[in-house]
């Protein structure tokens, strides 16, 4: 009986110290982490809507598709004139994680660039979606989306033109369909 009390108390003490230190560290780091995520998003938006770099990008409350976090409109001028295109921030279920993709397109729906903001796919397979080959400057998987019609992109395995990552079909498909679906919803709302 004395042992059980002693063990129980020791475990309680360990748990309290662990929980206390974790919540303290969390309170210190959470604002920094959110700040970094916001920075990454801003940098991503500038990258996928390069025409709006000196202008302004505003989020718009379009009807959302499941997975879509936010739609944006990019303007070349700071006073929200001269529309250069749209961007979608969308989450999709990958193989082992939720992949967060940002896609920028011009007013006709042609992709300007995509940026994968977050993924935790299988190292060596799914993570190739962010891999830069030696001698190149940007991830080949993302680069191939440029210039294609966003609402129509599909994997080569699904009769499309996007080259999938060998051994990482699910990852490739998750990113591709997220882009296509969100673009399709966006343009169906705009064209109403």
């Amino acid at each position: 009986m004395k042992d059980i009390l002693r063990f129980g108390f020791t475990l309680l003490l360990v748990a309290v110290i662990a929980a206390g230190s974790l919540s303290w560290v969390n309170s210190i780091t959470k604002p920094k982490i959110l700040e970094i995520q916001a920075n990454n998003l801003q940098q991503g938006l500038s990258k996928v809507l390069p025409g709006a770099k000196d202008g302004v990008i505003v989020s718009v409350p379009y009807a959302s598709n499941p997975g879509v976090i936010q739609y944006y409109r990019g303007y070349a001028q700071k006073d929200s004139t001269d529309l250069v295109g749209y961007a979608c921030l969308v989450d999709s279920k990958g193989y082992s994680s939720t992949i967060r993709t940002l896609v920028g397109m011009d007013t006709t729906g042609t992709i300007l660039a995509i940026e994968i903001l977050f993924q935790q796919e299988t190292p060596g397979l799914g993570t190739k979606c962010q891999e830069i080959r030696t001698g190149e400057t940007s991830p080949w998987f993302q680069h191939q989306f440029i210039g294609k019609a966003a609402a129509e992109v599909a994997l080569d395995k699904d009769n499309g033109t996007i080259v999938s990552i060998t051994g990482a079909t699910i990852t490739s498909r998750a990113i591709t369909t997220a882009i296509a679906d969100s673009a399709r919803t966006l343009f169906s709302v705009i064209n109403q």
Binding site: R6, T10, L11, A15, K32, I33, P123, G124, T134
Partner: protein, 200 residues
């Protein structure tokens, strides 16, 4: 107990992957490229040093019957704290090593050394043991990754090794390829042992 002996045992005679057979799950996951292997080895060594330090510091006040839950809690808490600090203050480092952190928590080497060594030895030797095991783990990962990346991707550290005509064996990037490689290396090390141990 000699310092050099405790340090070197983790590299060859008690290598955590090839001799102790610990940490095989994360080994499979990160040895598809040498770059990942180095990152994981470094991060795991850091965690191993810290967990061995803490476990050896609290060893006298931890009741033996509940030592496992206590060690697991300590290790998991510590790794999560490292992950949060990296994510908040060292985002570039977190980008490259972030995927390994959750893998390290379930790495049996950490709990294995805590239980087998740090809980029974003083802080100094526990740190030496942690360092030796960490180096041995890293060397094991890099050697497996060298095989898998060259045969399975045609590159080493991302640098193409063969010409463009080389068709990589995808099997090497998948888990069976890892198992084959680990088995072959263990067989080779056992053969080396028979060669060096023969008295005649």
């Amino acid at each position: 107990m000699k310092v050099s002996q405790e340090l070197v045992k983790g590299i060859y005679s008690s290598n955590p992957v090839f001799r102790l057979m610990l940490g095989l799950c994360p080994t499979l996951a990160v040895t598809s490229s040498v770059n990942n292997a180095i990152g994981m080895g470094g991060a795991a060594t850091f965690v191993l040093l810290s967990s061995n330090l803490v476990v050896s510091l609290i060893r006298k006040v931890t009741p033996a019957k509940i030592r496992i839950p206590v060690y697991i809690t300590v290790i998991a808490t510590f790794v999560t704290i490292v992950d949060l600090i990296m994510a908040g203050f060292f985002p570039d480092l977190h980008k490259s090593l972030g995927i390994f952190i959750p893998l390290i928590v379930v790495n049996c080497i950490i709990l294995g050394r805590a239980e087998a060594f740090a809980s029974k030895n003083n802080t100094f030797y526990s740190l030496v043991d942690g360092l030796g095991m960490g180096i041995g783990f890293t060397l094991a990962l890099v050697s497996i990754a060298t095989f898998r990346e060259i045969l399975g991707n045609g590159t080493w550290l991302g640098i193409p090794v063969f010409g463009s005509a080389f068709k990589p064996a995808l099997l090497m990037i998948l888990n069976p390829g890892a198992f084959f490689t680990i088995g072959l290396i263990i067989a080779f090390l056992n053969w080396l042992d028979t060669k060096t141990a023969s008295p005649s």
